[in-house]
Structures are given as structure tokens and as C-alpha cells.
Amino acid sequence: MFDLTLTQLADGLERGDFSSQELTQAWLERIQREDAQYNAYITLTPELALQQAAQADAQRAAGQAGRFTGLPIAHKDIFCTIGVKTSCGSKMLDNFIAPYNATLVERFNTAGAVMLGKTNMDEFAMGSSNENSYYGPVRNPWDTTRVPGGSSGGSAAAVAARLAPAATGTDTGGSIRQPAALCGITGLKPTYGRVSRYGMIAYASSLDQAGPMTRTAADAALMLQVMAGHDPRDSTSAEVAVPDYTAQLDLPLKGLRIGLPDEYFSSSLDSQIAAQIQQALRQFEALGATCKPIRLANTARCIPAYYIIAPAEASSNLSRFDGVRYGYRCEEPKDLMDLYTRSRGEGFGREVKRRIMIGTYALSAGYYDAYYRKAQQIRRLIQQDFVEALKEVDVIMGPVTPHTAFAIGEKNNDPVAMYMEDIFTLSLNLAGLPGMSIPCGQVAGLPVGLQIIGNYFAEDKLLNIAHQFQQATDWHTQSPVKL
């Protein structure tokens, strides 16, 4: 049962092979038994899960089941869930029980999904290794001495280790794609605005986007179908029609034009990873696609631009955590300033404080033009590069990460080295484009991810391409755990 994909579980529920309650019970037991070695979950919600499962079974019995009814999934602990702790991986929100549901959570509930629990993450989604969680690091199921990537490391590890059939994640600079690559699963960052951000705790509002983390592209299609759509509560969510993602999975790839950015195959890329990517590209050619080199000239500038814009927005977004209304408050504050400085000083972790300080500095009087405005200009250039490139090719492919999963602690004291790991993923968030990571090989027993970048709202195309690849290969079926 634990090796079945979300799609297969949906089929099983429809056939009556098992009930949602049986399914949910089994997954809950597995999590309780196995998660100690991965630390993928912050909170398990067994009572709620079984209650939702019973409801789902009743719905099915009444003939009112939809495709998602009764399917268990996990939510990243960045999404507000009514009555359940929503910590965002931070001591600041360790005591925070959300009084409302995120739109995304609401949509899954309406679709009949069962929530198994809330997954671990880098504090406030800031990190590429999941070492920045107040709840301790998540361990990579392929090698528990290594990181799973971040910030959606808990979701990636849970899916890889068969502790959830699928999970939600969020991606501000690669936080879905990078952990998906490092854990050997399928991750999709949709177009900015495709999925509502309401109830998703903001890190960098103009970059944040939620997406599915699954074992297969078909599963991602199933998940995205529930997640995508306009939300009147999020002004930045797009009023663009949502296609039937599953219906397009089987389209042939003949004639597909793939662009390969020179900048993504540069010296910073591990040669063994490059070899795996090349092999995947041969596979696409075998499926009828053609490859051609393209330029994304401003790629290298994405790191400084991102590390101005994201911290700037974060410094403002995280101001609400002040110890006044909810969340962590220091013991016996002497006065208002003491309340602020100690609540925030004690409640936030090191990386969060670092980014708040960078962002505050970048927005300060006299520095705004040199940093924030300049970064926005670079952002537009990066976006233009993609728009131009996507006139000549249908999709862009390349690596997700320059390296495979690194050891826990290895880059923890070198923030810049850590930031450099995101060089292939940040650009997409700056441009607002959709991107996928799918498993395409292994190096020394560790998974390698292939990144597929498409045009705005071309998620259906990305899923189709990924699915066709997965029909022809078996990297996505490799499991780090014995069942």
C-alpha cells in the first residue's frame, strides 16, 4: 500500500480495495513507527485525519465521492490549519493555533482530502537544507546523514520515505524543486498566482508560490487540480481558467522544442550531475523532442537580486511577529522596546534574523535605489531573458541543483555557499514562471533532479512532459526505503 502512488490509491479507493479509514490508519501507523529517523513531521493529526477519513468513506458510500475523496496527504507547516498548530518551523509560532484555514487547505478539505499532519520546514521557509527548523533538521531518506533540501524538506522527505502519498510545499526560491531533486521525488512550482497564497504564511510575497510534491507527474496533476484557481481573498491570484491537468498527460512529445541554457551547464555544475541530465535529454530526443542551446544571460545575477528582494519583503512580512497579539512573547517584558527586542530576538532563529537584517538594510533610506530598485531592474531583465527564450523553444531544461544532497552541518556556517545552491532555481521565482523537478538519475546513490521550465500557466505542458518521461523511465519509482 505504501508503494502505491496517489493516483493508484485513488483508483484503489474507487474500486473499494480499501477504505479511506483503513488507508489513513495504515499511513498514520507507518509515520508513528518510522518518522523518528527522518523528523519529517512537526505535528501529526491522527484524530482529525481519521475523522476526515470517516467522512470521506461516508461520502463515497453516498455516491458523492470525487477523485480526491479519502486520499491522505500532508501539508507543509506553513499553511494555516484551523485548530492545529501552524508553526512555520519557528519557535515564534510554536504556540500558534490557527483560527482559520488557508485557502489551499480549504480546497483540499472540500475535495475530501485527509490531512495526516504538518511537515517540517526551514523556519519561515528560509533555507535550502531544512537545518533552520526550530524542530530540528529533517534527514534525507536516501542517506540520513544528509540534508533533504529546503525549505519544504519535511514534505520531500515524507513523500520519499513513504510517510505520505503526497504533500504540499511552497517555493520562494526553489523550496519545492530543490528538496524534490535531493529526495528523488516530483515537485512542481506553479506560475506565480496559480495557487492562492491566502493562509500561507508569507516569506516573500512576490515570489511565494505553493505547489505539489509527489512521487509522479500524474500525482502532481491530481494535486494541482485541487490547488489551482482564482481566490478572491488573494489579489495576486490569477483569474486564468484551470485546465484538466490529468487529461493532457498522455499527449505525445513529438516536435517538442527544448532549450538548454548555456548558463545552466557551466562549471559550477557537478560533472556527474551534468551527465545524468544529458542522459535524460537523450531520452527526450528519443521521444521526439529536439534540443537547442539558448542564452539566459542574467542567470548569475539572480542570486544577488533574490537576496535583496526576498529579504526586503521578508523584513516587512515578519514585522507582525512582535509578541503583542499571538506567538512567542518574552518573559516579563520591562517595557515596549524590551517586549519587541526580546520577543523577536528569542523567537526568531539565526537565518531569519540574518534575512530580516539584510532586508531592513536594503530598504533603508539612502540604500533603496542602490539595492532594492536595482534588484527589481535585474528581476525584469531576468524575466525578459525567459520571455525571449520561450519564443524560440517550448520548454527549458537543465539541472535543479549544482550538487546532490550535502551532509547535515556541511554548509551551515557558510550562508553564501548555501545561497549558491539555489542558482538554478531562483530565476524562476523572480520571473514568476512555472518549473518542475523530476528524478532523472543518481550519483553515488543520491538522486538527481531534472528541471523543466515552461511558459506562464503552462503547468499542463510541464506535467505532460514529465509524465511522458516517467512512462519511459523508472527513476521516479526508485525508493530509498524498504517496505
Partner: protein, 485 residues
């Protein structure tokens, strides 16, 4: 040395939308603390703002009313600072691209002329909550009901030259926003608050002196007094060899003095940047034109109409139109009585006097236009005299009811019964022999004046109820009959 005062005003106007600028919570005043603050207003993690289109419409109305350019594209920005009643840690406001661009209004000066006050811009923003310092045993309570109430902040150029002009400008803005119906105008509840930037310079100088900012003044009278006080302080300071420091000051109306709140050095770096949760607001000419079509008659136009339609003096029309509710009240009165002059006298006389005494707004008047109209028609049809009318008005004011019932109940009906009046006249003539003799001995052209004494006596005797015209006629006839032939 002769000094010139230079004043610029920043006026915050609360828009009378049903719901907040970025959330669906109610904006009604006076609810129990924190009962009108939803997840967005409390800045719960993950919440997002959604712009209230009504606030946009109202801001555009204001812009059109002050002859301003309307921003086809306006952008919300975040003004970042920490304060307990600012739940998000930033205020969502507009800076570089406001909804209302440069405009102007004309105000009447003390000398009887007009002065054009330019408006630099007006922008939309959200109000903060309130800190409550009482009842919390040394701690501070936070009420977020007001957080997220839509405001238009109207920033003038430093075009005013006296405290009176500043107050006139504020009154004019008040008249405009209440006429437009975009603000309830209730200053006591903080619906309109004013920051005054005040500086002085030697008369004739073109350079601006260092200014101070007087924060959060919520009455026209206080605007005037605060500025006068501050100007006097600045003059004393400079004439004693000191210099004005740029700072924010608070006006204390109880002591009639201003005191320093914070200096420029202590000012925040607000780190403004465009709010990534809100899209730029883009509107087109059609939208603006549609709003222009819905604009009501504005105070200046109304005043001009009052002068021609009701034959009012420029002054009276100006006073009546200074507050749209007052002008409405007046017009209702005219409609129900058919007497523009009588209505004007009463609104600006008895009614205004009573309102002022109790510091009430005309919206809070205990006597409605209909009630007052009921009284005025009885003056017109001579059921009662003007003097009695004042008594009836006092009763209407304090006890309510309607004029006819009061007149009946108190027996205040004017006496027009000739017999009764004649008896009173005879009685007075009989009792006032010395005055009668003086009257008879006087030169014919002096007698008219002397008639007043007898009038007073007869009215007194009739407790004010006798018809004055009849009394006068009878007195004259009877006294003249005593003259030697």
C-alpha cells in the same frame, strides 16, 4: 520685526465605507474593543489584503471635487514601523503614486477676499488601531476595531498665512467631504483629524522657516488655537535669539500650549516599498467620468445657488453652506415653510446659538428641520409671536414634541381678539398717566418712538401673546384720540 505665518495642513479623513479598506470587517464606531477586527485586521499570519473598491470611488470623488488630477495608476506601499496598535508592523499607504494628484480649493479670507490653497496630493491609506491606557493596571490595552478603516490623507501646500485661514481651509475640506457623503464629518469621533505644519518667517521673505508639526487636532477651534499658540511660541523663541527645531509637537487644549513629542532625529526610517500583496490600482477615463456624473452639488456651487435662489447675502449663504448637513437642514426648512429669510434667521440664530452652547453638531440637533418648520409656520400665520416662538423652541429643544402641541398645552396662542387687546390697551393707558401726558405733550414726530413704551406694557400684560400689530394700531388710535383737537 513683523512675522509671516506659513501653514500647511495634512488632513486625515475617514471614509464612510461599510467595511474596511482591505478587509470585510465593519467600520462602525463605538463597538466593544476588538469585536470589529477580523483575521486580516489582526494581521494573523498568512492573511492578505483585498482592496475595497468603494474606498477608491470615494477617493476619486474627492479628487474631482478639489479640481485634482486623478492617478490613472496608483500604488499601495508599506510604511514600516513598530507600534502596538499597528498590527502588521507596517501601514499600507500610498507614496510615489497616489490616487489624487495636484488640485486646489478656494477659501474666504478674513479680509473678505479669497485665497487659493493648493493641494499637493491626497492618498489612500489604512488607519491604525488604538492603544488604551486606562483600566489595565499600568499595562496598555489594544483595540483594533479602527485598524484598517479607510483614510484619505489630504496634503496641502504651505499656502495658508494665518490660523484663521487654516481653520477656514479645514472647514472647507469638511464641507466638501460631507457634501460628497464620503465622510460622516464627526470630528469628535475622529472622522477628520488634522496635522498642522507651522513655520514663521520675516514678512517679505521667500524662504520657508523651520517648521514644526502639530499632530492630531480634531476640532476647528483647536486648529486655530493650536496654531496661534505655536506661532506665538516660535516668535518668542526666535526673538529671544533661539531657533525653531524641526519636530513633532502635541497641542494640549486644556493648557493651551504645545509640547514636543519627538524630534526629527528620533523620526523613523519607514523603509517604504510597494506592497507586494496588492496590485497597482489602474483606472481609466470612463471610470472617472462615471464618477464625475454622480458628484452632488459642491459647497461653492451651492452657496452661489443660495444667493440667487433664496436671495441670501454672500455671508449668510457662506455660513449655511459651510456644513452640508446645515445646508441640507436649511433647505428642508425652506421647503416646509416657504420662507427663506425666516429659515436663515432661525438656523443661524436660535438653532446655532443652542448648538454652540452645547457643543453639538447640527447632525445631533435635538430639534429636527421638520420640528422647527412646524414652529416657523406658526410665526408666519401669526399664531404666535417671534418672542413666544423662542419659548416654544426652548421646549422643543429640551423636551421634544411638536410646536402646535406645545402652543396649545401652554396656552401660548397669540391673542388677536380685539376686545381682549382693547381691554389691555385701555388698562395701560389708565395706569400710566404720567407717560400718557408726556406722549400728548410731545412733538408729533417724537410720538412714534414713545409708543414703544406702551407697546411693552401691553405685551407684558398679555404675557407676550397679544398680536403686536393690533396692539400698535389700537394704542395709536386711542392715544391720538386723547390729543387736544
Amino acid at each position: 520685526m513683523e512675522w509671516e505665518t506659513v501653514i500647511g495642513l495634512e488632513i486625515h479623513v475617514q471614509l464612510s465605507t461599510q467595511t474596511k479598506i482591505f478587509s470585510g470587517a465593519s467600520t462602525a464606531f463605538g463597538a466593544e474593543p476588538n469585536t470589529q477586527a477580523c483575521a486580516v485586521d489582526l494581521a494573523l499570519p498568512g492573511t492578505l489584503p483585498v482592496f475595497n473598491e468603494n474606498a477608491l470611488r470615494m477617493a476619486v470623488m474627492f479628487g474631482l471635487a478639489v479640481n485634482a488630477e486623478i492617478g490613472k495608476r496608483s500604488v499601495f506601499e508599506r510604511k514600516n514601523y513598530f507600534y502596538p496598535d499597528l498590527p502588521k508592523g507596517y501601514q499600507t499607504t500610498q507614496l510615489a503614486e497616489p490616487i489624487v494628484g495636484p488640485g486646489y480649493i478656494d477659501i474666504e479670507t478674513e479680509e473678505g477676499g479669497t485665497r487659493r490653497v493648493r493641494i499637493h496630493h491626497a492618498h489612500l491609506e489604512e488607519d491604525a488601531g488604538k492603544s488604551l491606557h486606562e483600566d489595565f493596571h499600568g499595562m496598555t490595552g489594544i483595540d483594533l476595531n479602527r485598524a484598517g478603516t479607510p483614510l484619505v490623507e489630504i496634503v496641502s501646500e504651505p499656502d495658508m498665512r494665518s490660523a484663521k485661514e487654516a481653520a477656514a481651509y479645514a472647514r472647507k475640506i469638511h464641507a466638501i467631504v460631507t457634501t460628497l457623503g464620503i465622510c460622516d464629518g464627526n470630528m469628535a469621533e475622529g472622522s477628520m483629524r488634522c496635522d498642522c505644519n507651522v513655520s514663521i518667517r520675516p514678512k517679505g521673505s521667500e524662504t520657508l522657516g523651520t517648521r514644526t508639526e502639530l499632530k492630531n487636532i480634531n476640532s476647528f477651534r483647536f486648529i486655530e488655537r493650536a496654531i496661534e499658540t505655536e506661532v506665538a511660541r516660535q516668535i518668542d523663541l526666535i526673538e529671544d535669539g533661539g531657533r525653531v527645531v524641526q519636530e513633532t509637537r502635541l497641542y494640549d487644549p486644556d493648557r493651551n500650549q504645545t509640547r514636543s513629542m519627538r524630534s526629527k532625529e528620533e523620526a523613523n526610517d519607514y523603509r517604504y516599498f510597494p506592497c507586494p500583496d496588492l496590485l497597482p490600482v489602474v483606472i481609466d477615463e470612463t471610470y472617472i467620468e462615471q464618477i464625475r456624473q454622480t458628484l452632488p452639488e459642491l459647497p461653492d456651487a451651492r452657496k452661489a445657488r443660495f444667493i440667487t435662489e433664496y436671495q441670501l447675502s454672500e455671508y449668510d449663504a457662506g455660513v449655511l453652506c459651510a456644513d452640508s448637513a446645515q445646508a441640507d437642514y436649511y433647505e428642508a426648512l425652506v421647503k416646509q415653510t416657504g420662507d427663506a429669510k425666516l429659515a436663515a434667521n432661525w438656523v443661524m440664530g436660535e438653532l446655532a446659538k443652542n448648538l454652540n452652547q452645547q457643543d453639538l453638531d447640527i447632525r445631533q440637533s435635538p430639534v429636527s428641520a421638520t420640528q422647527l418648520a412646524g414652529l416657523l409656520v406658526r410665526i408666519k400665520d401669526e399664531t404666535i409671536t417671534g418672542k413666544i416662538a423662542k419659548q416654544v423652541f426652548e421646549i422643543l429643544w429640551s423636551e421634544g414634541g411638536n410646536a402646535d402641541a406645545i402652543i396649545d398645552a401652554k396656552g401660548l396662542k397669540q391673542v388677536t381678539d380685539t376686545g381682549a387687546i382693547e381691554a389691555a390697551v385701555d388698562q395701560v393707558i389708565a395706569q400710566c398717566t404720567p407717560q400718557v401726558e408726556q406722549y400728548l405733550a410731545a412733538e408729533p414726530d417724537k410720538r412714534g418712538k414713545m409708543l414703544g413704551f406702551f407697546m411693552g406694557q401691553v405685551m407684558k400684560l398679555s404675557q407676550g401673546k397679544a398680536n403686536p400689530g393690533q396692539v400698535q394700531g389700537l394704542l395709536k388710535t386711542k392715544l391720538d384720540a386723547l390729543l387736544p383737537k
